[in-house]
């Protein structure tokens, strides 16, 4: 007997969590039950285990009662495992002699019968008491962090996050799918509730991105692959050919004048199709980078190879280069901020409003361009048929708060609809009706803005518009679009003829959000927006360490909230890379050499190629640095010669024994 077998002395702590747990679980009963289990030296209940005194209790007991195993029954390990590991370590024990039992999220919050909930808590505590016996002392592995950060998406969220990080001296790669950064915000005219000009506040930030020495801006590019783990991601970015060399183009636009297409005849994406552009174009005057781009679907030369290529001749810098091919760039970063934004709801999905049928039905984004001084009509509100509207109806909640389309409230539509009401009235003098279900103005100075609109004489009809059509039931409706709605304040149905209808479309995830999610190994909520790690305590983190969220890709939000969140994401990324290293969970797998038969069954199982077969030893071996700790090889090893720290066979079997002990 080389080493005396250590006596197991377990401390069990049952948390009340105020009434969160104690309200449904008889915590005293649980603590009493635990105290009778073999090996348990101390068993207590306490109001808030995660509080300082709660943690101090653990530390004290380790000293006084020579505890060598700790079990806390409280909330989810995803929330407080680290807290109690630290408390265990403070008491002088290895932090991995601790196990957390989830009796809140998995018990008190989801059950309604106190007796059942208490029995379940007892079973779970029993399992933990069984389990901790076989726990081992482990150390977390430290790996250095690459100090560069990748920001995906060049809207206001990505721009702000990139600038914050770059200003802190970090290398930033900003990748944007469109030819220019700026995102949706660049299209807006004024911003609510202050009515300051969107371009005036955004474009300086866009140009700082361009000129910042720490930022590498890749527009017209997409992340195609990401490997590695927190602190050490290896990213492949695919740069699409724009057929114009960024390093040579100065944005003089002479090539555009020279294009064989004399007239701009293709819908301009930036103006929501209300304006026109040529096959070679600069999306808008302040586009960043201000480099022309050639639309491969429109350019004669790209499509057919038969063109005079007058653009090439016109550029004395020789920037136009039809030989460009998609190009893959490899970069290494320590953290990633995902800021891929949103897509506006496609109004055609709500056919009752006649979008795409009646030309005078517009989406809110189109009207943003229409009232914008730099827009296709220079800010004049002119209908598609050339008329000036005398009455305008703005419909809220299009594609929001609906079972058939999107269930969520898009959060910004009430306010931007109010803003558009103000702008349209200001620009056209028209009579404006706003149709809303509930007026949601909960932000700073939002309610005041609503009040201002009321005073400006905008009509507010509480009721969701049932339909828009051009059927005339009364001479007053001739030549108009008729909005049919129940005015729920009056309690009657109304018909309101208007010249122009504006649809306050909601915000939804990009169509390819699922692919992006898989690419970054993060989750989506049921709505399809990226899921934060915790709605309150980790709102910009994801379940994948080192990947952070900013802006509307996480859920609809307005500009101030987006900027705040982008700042938070940047700060989280900074906190990660400034620490210089990350600690990895020690839940890696390892092969016991003398037990391995070298059957090679495990080798093809590892997606990270962490398992290799050593020819001279004729055994398999796991590279701990590559192992991510899933345990798939452990579950599959036919001779149980692979072990996983924290999830050893014996530990899982003892948990099973514990939960079923009362059967």
């Amino acid at each position: 007997m080389s080493k005396p077998v250590e006596e197991i002395r377990i401390g069990v702590y049952v948390c009340h969590c105020g009434t969160n747990i104690a309200g449904m679980v008889d915590v005293k009963n649980v603590a009493d039950f635990a105290s009778r289990l073999p090996g348990v030296t101390v068993s207590r209940e306490y109001k808030y285990m995660c509080s300082d005194p709660g943690q101090e209790l653990i530390r004290q007991d380790i000293k006084e009662h020579r505890l060598n195993r700790i079990v806390v029954a409280s909330c989810s390990p995803l929330l407080h495992e680290e807290t109690f590991r630290a408390a265990t370590a403070k008491g002088g024990l290895n932090p991995f002699f601790f196990h957390l039992v989830n009796i809140r999220e998995h018990d008190s919050w989801v059950h309604e019968n106190r007796q059942d909930a208490t029995a379940k808590a007892n079973a779970l505590v029993h399992a933990a008491v069984e389990r901790v016996r076989s726990h081992k002392a482990l150390t977390k592995k430290q790996v250095p962090v690459n100090p560069a950060v990748l920001v995906v998406g060049g809207g206001i969220a990505g721009i702000h996050a990139a600038l914050t990080l770059a200003n802190a001296g970090k290398k930033v790669y900003l990748v944007e799918r469109e030819p220019t950064i700026g995102g949706h915000m660049a299209k807006f005219d004024k911003t609510f509730p202050t009515l300051d000009c969107a371009a005036c506040i955004l474009t300086p930030k866009m140009s700082s991105v361009k000129s910042h020495k720490n930022i590498t801006l890749w527009s017209y590019s997409e992340v195609s692959r990401i490997e590695g783990y927190v602190g050490n991601f290896e990213v492949t970015v695919r740069r699409q050919p724009r057929y114009v060399r960024e390093d040579l183009c100065v944005g003089c636009m002479e090539c555009i004048d020279a294009c064989v297409f004399k007239e701009a005849k293709f819908p301009n994406e930036f103006d929501e199709g209300l304006g026109k552009r040529k096959p070679i174009y600069v999306p808008f005057p302040q586009a960043t980078p201000k480099v022309a781009v050639i639309d491969p679907d429109r350019c004669l030369n790209v499509k057919t190879g038969k063109c005079k290529k007058s653009c090439v001749a016109s550029c004395d810098r020789g920037a136009i280069d039809f030989t460009q091919k998609p190009e893959d760039r490899q970069i290494k970063v320590g953290a990633v901020v995902v800021a891929t934004g949103f897509k506006a709801f496609d109004a055609k999905r709500s056919p009752q409003y006649g979008y795409g049928v009646y030309p005078n039905v517009y989406t809110s984004l189109e009207v943003e361009r229409l009232v914008n001084a730099s827009g296709p009509t220079s800010g004049e509100v002119v209908l598609r048929d050339g008329r000036h509207p005398k009455t305008v109806g703005i419909i809220h909640c299009v594609g929001s708060r609906e079972e058939h389309t999107n269930r969520w409230c898009s959060r910004v539509c009430c306010m931007y609809s109010l803003k558009l009401a103000h702008l349209v009235k200001e620009h056209s003098g028209a009579e404006v009706f706003n149709f809303y279900i509930d007026m949601r103005t909960p932000g700073k100075s939002f309610e005041e803005f609503y009040q201002k609109l009321l005073k400006e004489g905008v009509h507010f009809v509480r009721g969701k518009v049932a339909e828009v059509n051009d059927w005339v039931l009364d001479p007053s409706e001739q030549g108009k679009l008729v909005i049919r709605v129940e005015d729920t304040l009056l309690g009657t149905v109304r018909r309101i003829p208007v010249d122009m209808v504006v649809l306050g479309v909601g915000l939804e995830p990009h169509a390819d959000a699922q692919e992006v999610r898989r690419l970054f190994n993060i989750s989506c909520g049921t709505e399809g927006f990226f899921l934060e790690r915790h709605p309150k305590l980790a709102p910009v983190n994801t379940f994948t360490d080192g990947i952070f969220l900013a802006g509307c890709c996480q859920g609809p939000k307005d500009i101030p909230d987006t900027v705040a969140q982008a700042g938070a994401a940047a700060a989280e990324a900074l906190a990660l890379i400034d620490s210089g290293h990350v600690e990895l969970e020690p839940n890696t797998a390892y092969i016991v050499e003398e037990e391995c038969s070298g059957c090679k069954s495990c080798v093809p199982l590892c997606p990270y190629k962490a398992i290799s077969y050593v020819e001279d030893k004729k055994k398999a071996v796991i590279n701990e640095a590559l192992c991510k700790g899933c345990g798939t090889c452990v579950g599959a090893c036919p001779s149980s010669s692979i072990k996983q720290n924290l999830f050893e066979d014996e530990q899982v079997f003892s948990e099973i024994r514990g939960v079923l002990a009362d059967v």
Binding site: Q352, C397, R401, E402, E403, H404, I437, D438, R462, G463, K464, V465, A466, E467, R484, V485, E486, D487, T488, G491, T492, V493
Partner: protein, 188 residues
């Protein structure tokens, strides 16, 4: 003058919950009172309460108003409201549920044709195994608007003469068995 204020003692909120348990009424409490149903409804033109208000009445338990209003009988079952409702509430089904409740409690507007039509139709089918348009029109007019015989006589005779309305009552074989089969359901 009728008082317009409603006292809470007149409401039975539990009744609303009862209605919500009936088939098709499950999503009653999801209503956000947006008025899409009313705006969509081709009959809301004539309704005393808009469908949205009927839903509000049910939820708050004002069963007398909800059961005696004209709205539920005016509903033409076009299902436009159900298809447009952003909360996927089956408004038409709720109207049916209220109609059944009203018939059960006999609290529908007197001489209102719809419930009479439904009842007489059922009686005829139960008796003969088939509907007889002739008898149905006769009974309906008799029980709702006897004066109608005078105003409708010309049309009726014209229909009879052109063979569009047959006074012959058709019967299925073994109608007695059908009657028997329908008996227990009446008990329930």
């Amino acid at each position: 003058m009728e008082r317009q204020i409603r006292y809470q003692r007149e409401a039975r909120p539990a009744w609303g919950a009862e209605i919500a348990k009936l088939p098709g009424c499950e999503r009653l409490y999801s209503c956000i009172q947006c008025g899409t149903c009313s705006g969509t409804c081709p009959m809301s033109l004539y309704m005393d309460y808009t469908p949205r208000r009927v839903i509000a009445l049910i939820r708050e338990g004002f069963y007398k108003d909800a059961l005696s209003c004209r709205t539920i009988w005016l509903c033409a079952s076009c299902y436009s409201c159900s298809s447009r409702c952003p909360q996927d509430i089956k408004v038409t089904d709720i109207m049916y549920a209220l109609k059944r409740e009203a018939i059960k409690r006999k609290v529908y507007p007197s001489r209102f044709p719809t419930p009479v039509l439904a009842r007489e139709f059922y009686r005829l089918v139960k008796m003969f195994g088939r509907n007889s348009e002739f008898l149905l029109v006769f009974l309906l007019t008799l029980k709702t608007n006897p004066l109608g015989f005078l105003t409708m006589a010309r049309t009726g005779i014209a229909l009879l003469l052109t063979g569009r309305l047959s006074p012959k009552v058709e019967m299925i074989r073994d109608a007695a068995r059908l009657r028997k089969a329908l008996e227990p359901k009446e008990v329930a």
